[in-house]
Amino acid sequence: MNLSYTEEQVMLREQIQKFCETEYDFYKREEVVKSDKDFDENAWSLFAEQGWLSMPFSEESGGFGFGPIELSILFEEFGKSLVIEPYLSNVVLAGSILDKSNFEGKVQLIEGICSGSSHLSLAYVEAAHSYEYLKPDTNVSEDNKLNGAKTLVLNGKNASKLIVSCVKNDEFLLVLIDTAAEGVSFNTFKTIDEKTCAEFSFENVSIEDKDIIASGDEAKNLLIETLNLATLCVSAEAVGCMISCYQKTVQYTKEREQFDQPISNFQVLQHRMVDMFIDSELAKSLLYKAMLEVDSDSEDKFKHVSALKAHVGKFGKLSAQNAIQLHGGMGVSEEMMIGHYLKKMVAIDAMFGNADFHLKAFSK
């Protein structure tokens, strides 16, 4: 048993930390958020140059073949800085589902993601089937026309292609469509954590057999595996947020003086910060377990992801709420970073099954 990160993994973390600390401060992020841009193009190019966009892909697809541990490192660090760039939608959701598939054109599509030149999104959510991702109403007719609607398509506005979950004659399918194709329409909005998101409608969009990425059980397994990996990633992001919440709060209470002393002198605040610290450590422990098991052959491999997601869903929000409380009025000010962690925690809890959903999944 050895639970230390390798030297290579430590270096990766340092590299990402350096970027986040020197080139991604909150005020720069705010400028982008308040502009008409969805994310920082320069940052995105830098991600590509550093090879971060190629990390999890197999070597055959032109990637580094990194696993869930490296992805967790990246997301933990992104969480601390509340990074808004569309990594999850491109690399984890669309990219890794393609990479694991037997789809013929996958290498070229993944190349586009790795170089940062094209965006792809996974359209897997339907308004009527919250958290039930294997029973879409979106369908392909006998004459190969796609009809239906998808919501919460992350980064959908920037995507040139979509991977859409749907059914044809009761068979589950993942199909690739062009967002510019006839019959595709969408409108966009922002998520609570400042990401761009789209709702798509499909009206008699023509599908050819070569557009089918996978079908039947293969398609279902691809989606389940990918969503579990994505759940792990956003949970790692939540762990990063929890660490930042307690660290920033400790820092603030040391500086903030009331009654002629730093408020960190007050035991009631100290103990609350200790609770925040402990919850972040426990979350980290569950992250270790989940990232070490998710790629294993164990029957329980997704159970540990559920345990992690249930924990961060509940305690992540608590941690962010405590951070706000201990920052006082500053905690609820839009211009301060600290309150934004709560929005991130709400977003993370809502995605891929909330705490209650994963608690049930865990106990099955």
């Binding site: 048993m1 639970l3 230390s4 035991q267 910060m273 200790v274 402990i278 422990s285 569950l286 924990h311």
Partner: protein, 389 residues
Amino acid sequence: MDINFSKEDLQFRDELREWLANDYPKHVKDKMDKGEHLTRQDMVDYHKALSAKGWMGYNWPVEYGGTGWSATQLYLFNKEFGLAGCPPLLAFGVSMVAPVIWTFGNEEQKKRFLPDILDFNTWWCQGYSEPGSGSDLASLKTKAVKEGDHYIVNGSKTWTTLAQNADWIFLLVRTESTGKKQEGISFLLVDMKTPGIEVKPIITIDGDHEVNSVFFTDVKVPVENLVGEEGKGWTYAKFLLAHERFGIAAVGASMRALNQLKEVVSELNNSDLDKKVAEMEIAISALEMTELRLLSDLENGGHPGAESSILKIKGTEIQQGLTELFVEAAGEYALMYPGAGGYGSNDKPSGPEHAAVSLERFLNFRKTSIYGGSNEIQKNIISKFVLGV
């Protein structure tokens, strides 16, 4: 990263399991499995069985007859024994006073005391807390005045676990009342048969006689029973408390309780309770991984410090939480405690077997968040040494 134990560690685990299957004294196992009280003799038999195997000195260096086990082996030992439902090992001799004796005691003291601890010929108890000194231990008042070749001890100790069974007690006493309160403390070893010692039971809310008050009236203790230097007792006391942390997370024991709880709850068809049990299972998994992370750090030459307070806080919260869920599962039968034989008897009231045991444990386990440095003290430690406030 590799979450799997090495082949050697797994072999070691098999060896532990083999002992538990074949050599764990059967009369002790039967009582433990039924949740019955153990007698003094049961405890002696259990510890002597471990001595016979050579495992009594589980956390001792080989030099003094210990096992010399690695941190991982210690972890596995604690976990497997917890999973098997064994009684917790009495820490007072083997893992509290013994390390103080071999670290700060003289050769004569090592020869005189260590072998008997290893063979469980002497039962030790701990004379730390006093009626006026709990978490603020350094404020203790029990006084030892040197007269010729003896110390004359006067005062009282409290919450002394199983003092009624003990042969010896290690005492923190005040040998100097001026100056800083930490600096006038000394560490004495005292034979419980010495005239002037009186043990009075304190009955806890579960009806059990586990703890005592111990009174000292002009008790004569030979000066050769002083450990180390006079006035340095506080240093030794703190050193000892660091050793008390072993196994504090009680992961194995909590996993066993969880499995029993799941069996009980599976027949109740109560989805609210199911949810609480699932949360508990996740909490235990998080605790286990936290302990493994600290263990890995230790094995890689790290020095995890105040982080181990997390194990105390969460470990005891989980232990208590489990007893609370058993009480919930007992439903109306939670009213029926104690049984017809009264407190302290092994008579069970009518109703499901798990109910009576659960009430006793629920009440008894309130102690866990108080002893070994209360959970609030642990939070102070984390606050100071980890958060730096």
